[in-house]
Amino acid sequence: MEEKDKGLSRRKFINDGVRLTLGLTVVGTGVFSLKRSASGKDYVWQIDPVKCTQCGRCATECVKSDSAVKCVHAYDLCGYCDLCGGYFKPGAKLQTGAENQLCPTAAIQRRFIEEPYFEYIIDEELCIGCAKCVKGCSAFGNGSLHLQIRHDLCLNCNQCAIATSCPSDAISRVPADKPYIIKGDFTSEEEG
């Protein structure tokens, strides 16, 4: 009888131990996750537009098709020029015919405002993140067009394929509460 009581006690001890361990693990993981989230330590991938060399790999290396990388436009930096180095091929006629446009998918809409200003709007549905416009804008303009990883599209892979292949180490993890590195005053105000 005494031996039976001892056996039950041992089994109970082991069961209680396992339950406690599992419980602590679950609670600990939850607390850790909550704490990490609350302290902003989640990270997402993003492109530093200053380091980006417009190599074009964002369009081809991303696991998503189309790429989660899109061109964005810092309007406060844009010159609103008639001749836009990000919109027109060098030497092209300054009109909207497809043969004049740099963008292979016509993802930039050019809209006349008033002499001498033109607005350039990115159609993200069409943008494939090839950076041709960014290269043209950086070489001949103010650099207002630049690439960003869109987090509504990005899968946030553990190992980002475009970060791995980026030749200029322009892609790194950034805090999830500051997920974009936008050029121009927009970022400054956000940070301020």
Binding site: G79, C81, P90, G91, K93, Q95, T96, Q109, Y117, F140
Partner: protein, 468 residues
């Protein structure tokens, strides 16, 4: 029954497939989608109507920097005034500073006076401003009202100054001639209206030329180039524009080749030389459409042996022409053309010639050497002798040689002093003088006073060694 339904579904599918236009959802990208309007009507402008006197100039200074690229069109000062090699720890001595309308216009200096065609954003007027070189006191203003919108700034030309006259071209190609002594208005010309010219993108960048009492303007439009009498504004000759070439941002360069004086201009459409003197003055001596780019800001660099170096930004690179003369006939051939990554090319400023070598700053699309100062071999402009290095990049700012020193202004207003050399890059000192951006206006120097600017302000630096 089931088989019948399947056959029916198949027939309907094939019918739908045949009837369906596979590209009916595609949108064609055609001209005119930007809803661009017609060009606005050219306004009548009362050139020279505004005038105000503020002070009086009493100066015994005699040196001059009378126009774009200086007296000899080479951006090289012949002044004997020794200049400093290094800046004091607190920076160069800023004699005076003046706020300007946004732009890139450069100054001319003549015997103690500084002349600048500014755009007054409050008055909404092109204003020729005369300052005292030594203290910056404003002496007088002459101008005209014109409503301009900022388009990478407004002003961007350098006046031409002689003992008697000052000649300016405004952003919309309004030419104004005034008396140098007192700013009295003499005559004006609305080039856009009179010659049906097309104003270049980002406004007029051509700096006017006064040559032997004539105002030389490359108008484009109805005439390719015109000469006007400086005293009266009367048209002396007009060069027909049979090819419909357009005014560029480049400036007219006087050039003498095998005893014949000519004016060389790099237009949109081609480059040409026009006889400067004699019975055939105003006639085209040679021309070629081989050099035809959308944006051309640098001026041609014409060598004594007939080589003409042409360069531009926006991917254009450079071209070298060889001019020849046989009897009375000139001919021109392209001897080299290359991309900006392959040799000396410049986007905005004109290269300088130093000991037969060309020095210039490469554009942003020049690959690994982008924005670096380079020196190229005189026999082969694709052969780079030295560069300023990857840690020393500049931008679209100006550079000039004075007292055997090369002064370079970076976009952010940093002034760098370099010993010009055909062997290596030798930097003497560097200091950020201006706080603004787009410091692109050409430099001017006389009597040891250097005038430089950013997009919104202009300063006079006293860099004479004897006055430090």
């Amino acid at each position: 029954m089931a088989t019948g339904l399947l056959v029916l579904a198949g027939v309907l599918s094939i019918g739908w497939w045949l009837a369906k236009d596979p590209v009916d959802e595609l949108v064609t990208t055609q001209p005119g989608l930007d809803n661009r309007g017609e060009h606005s009507v050219v306004a009548d402008i009362d050139i020279g109507a505004y005038f105000e006197t503020m002070g009086e100039l009493n100066s015994e200074l005699q040196e001059t920097w009378p126009r774009f690229r200086g007296e000899y069109f080479d951006n090289m000062s012949r002044s004997k005034v020794a200049l400093i090699d290094k800046f004091p720890a607190e920076g160069p001595n800023v004699k005076w500073r003046v706020e300007l309308g946004e732009g890139h216009a450069g100054a001319a200096i003549y015997k103690g006076a500084v002349y600048l065609l500014d755009y007054d954003e409050e008055l909404r007027a092109d204003i020729l401003r005369c300052f005292s070189l030594v203290d910056g006191e404003e002496i007088w203003e002459r101008g005209y009202k014109i409503n301009l919108k900022r388009n990478h700034g407004m002003s961007r030309t350098v006046p031409a100054v002689t003992e008697e006259h000052i000649l300016t071209i405004g952003p919309r190609s309004h030419v104004m001639c005034v008396s140098r002594q007192d700013g009295e208005f003499i005559w004006g010309l609305n080039v856009e209206k009179e010659y049906e010219s097309e104003i270049p993108l980002w406004y007029t960048g051509q700096c006017p030329l006064i040559d032997n009492g004539k105002a030389i303007i490359a108008t484009g439009g109805r005439s390719l180039m015109v000469a006007l009498d400086m005293e009266s504004g009367e048209v002396l000759w007009e060069t027909p524009n049979e090819n419909g070439w357009l005014m560029s941002h480049s400036s007219v360069l006087p050039y003498e080749f095998q005893g014949i004086r000519m004016y060389v201009y790099s237009a949109y459409g081609g480059v040409f030389g026009v006889a400067a003197d004699g019975p055939n003055a105003g006639e085209i001596l040679w021309q070629t459409s081989a050099w035809n780019h959308q944006v051309v800001a640098p001026s041609p660099v014409c060598m004594p042996d007939g080589k003409v170096f042409l360069t531009a930004g926006y991917g254009a690179g450079a071209m070298i022409l060889q001019l020849s003369k046989s009897g009375d006939q000139f001919s021109v051939e392209v001897i080299n053309e290359y991309a900006p990554k392959e040799g000396l090319a410049c986007e905005q400023q004109t290269p300088v010639v130093f000991n037969d070598h060309l020095l210039g700053i490469l554009p942003k699309d020049a690959g690994p050497l982008r924005n670096q100062l380079v020196c190229v071999h005189p026999d082969d402009f694709t052969k780079v002798i030295w560069t300023s290095g990857q840690d020393k990049r500049f931008g679209l700012g100006p550079y000039m040689i004075a007292d055997n020193k090369l002064f370079i202004v970076s976009d952010d207003g940093t002034l760098t002093v370099v010993t010009p050399s055909t062997r290596e890059y030798i930097e003497l000192d560097s200091y950020r003088v201006l706080e603004g951006h787009d410091s692109w206006g050409p430099l001017a120097i006389a009597d040891g006073y250097l005038i430089m600017r950013d997009s919104k302000s202009m300063v006079c630096l006293d860099i004479a060694k004897s006055r430090q």
